[in-house]
Subunit: 161 residues, 2 copies
DNA sequence: CAAATTTATCATACTGATATGATGTTTGAC
DNA sequence: GTCAAACATCATATCAGTATGATAAATTTG
């Protein structure tokens, strides 16, 4: 697998937040429902992204998560860095010292692929993916609209059941 | 990480066997010593490669593992396939159905990288890597010579200590 | 056949990533 | 100030990948 499941989750969540369209915070529960992952685990993941300066969080009613960086300036590398240090993606055989004088057998041929992937993560922004998304089959995209829906129950008095 | 540690081990071991130069079987212990990994775990890994038709094994004295395919016809894809199904490398977000009508947000941009990597694994053979290896810093390569050394203790009578 | 050598296999343990449930903390509305 | 909403955090559980040790099975040598 190219990305750990946590890194995938992070990327997916950031896309959800960026794609929600609204400028008001998106709640963990809503994101977890959309991407189908455990709430508390996602909460931890989003908290890491917050400490990394990718998101901003707000507690209390009408709280949730917002992007801390405009989508056009937020690269995939920034989002996945806290979960997948780039250093671990470099040597095909997993040798920590590969790339220096002491290269592994695959180094020469593999480095070119690894470099391309690295460039992809550095050059691709959340805005790029958002722009592509509608073009992709959009059952996933459709679910995003639920994030834009009425989110704060206003003062209608207590909800009746 | 691009390859699981077991897949890395498999690749490394196959390189050792192919690079030993001798046409006689290489023992698990010797390989484990060279690549620095647990003997029994490697044994299991090599057994999987044997069932996959990549290696041939022989038990008993002067036994060990041989390539079942000449290095020039053995691709990296064949070696790692039993440990890392290619299907798991395709979608950046880990969606099983990605690539069809229902593509993920990253699909369009990522597919090109994933394809290149796939081609790399399909097109690169063990012979290619062996040819590169001496050009690489060769502390690792040097250790291979130990695999070529006198391996079967011949009938000289009991070894004296 | 007996002994030595080597792979094959099994039961179990360890480890890190992932997941869960309970509880704490902050915030906004009334 | 109280309450409810939401994130934050902690302790623990689960799971898959990795590792270990013991034992079985096969093969060669003599």
């Amino acid at each position: 697998m190219w990305l750990s499941s946590t890194a995938q989750q992070a990327l997916h969540a950031v896309l959800c937040i960026a794609g929600s369209g609204a400028d008001r915070p998106v709640r963990v529960d809503a994101i977890a429902a959309v991407i189908g992952c455990p709430r508390n685990y996602l909460s931890k993941t989003l908290h890491v992204l917050t400490r990394a300066g990718v998101l901003r969080s707000r507690r209390g009613p009408a709280g949730g998560f917002l992007l801390a960086v405009p989508p056009s300036q937020l690269t995939l590398a920034q989002v996945i860095a806290p979960f997948e240090p780039a250093s671990e993606r470099r040597c095909l055989l997993g040798r920590p010292t590969c790339g220096d004088a002491d290269a592994c057998a695959a180094h020469e041929r593999w480095a070119c692929i690894a470099r391309r992937a690295e460039e992809f993560f550095q050059a691709t922004t959340i805005a790029h993916l958002l722009r592509d998304w509608p073009r992709a089959g959009s059952t996933a995209r459709a679910r995003l609209t639920s994030l834009r829906g009425p989110q704060t129950r206003r003062a209608h008095g207590p909800v009746r059941r």
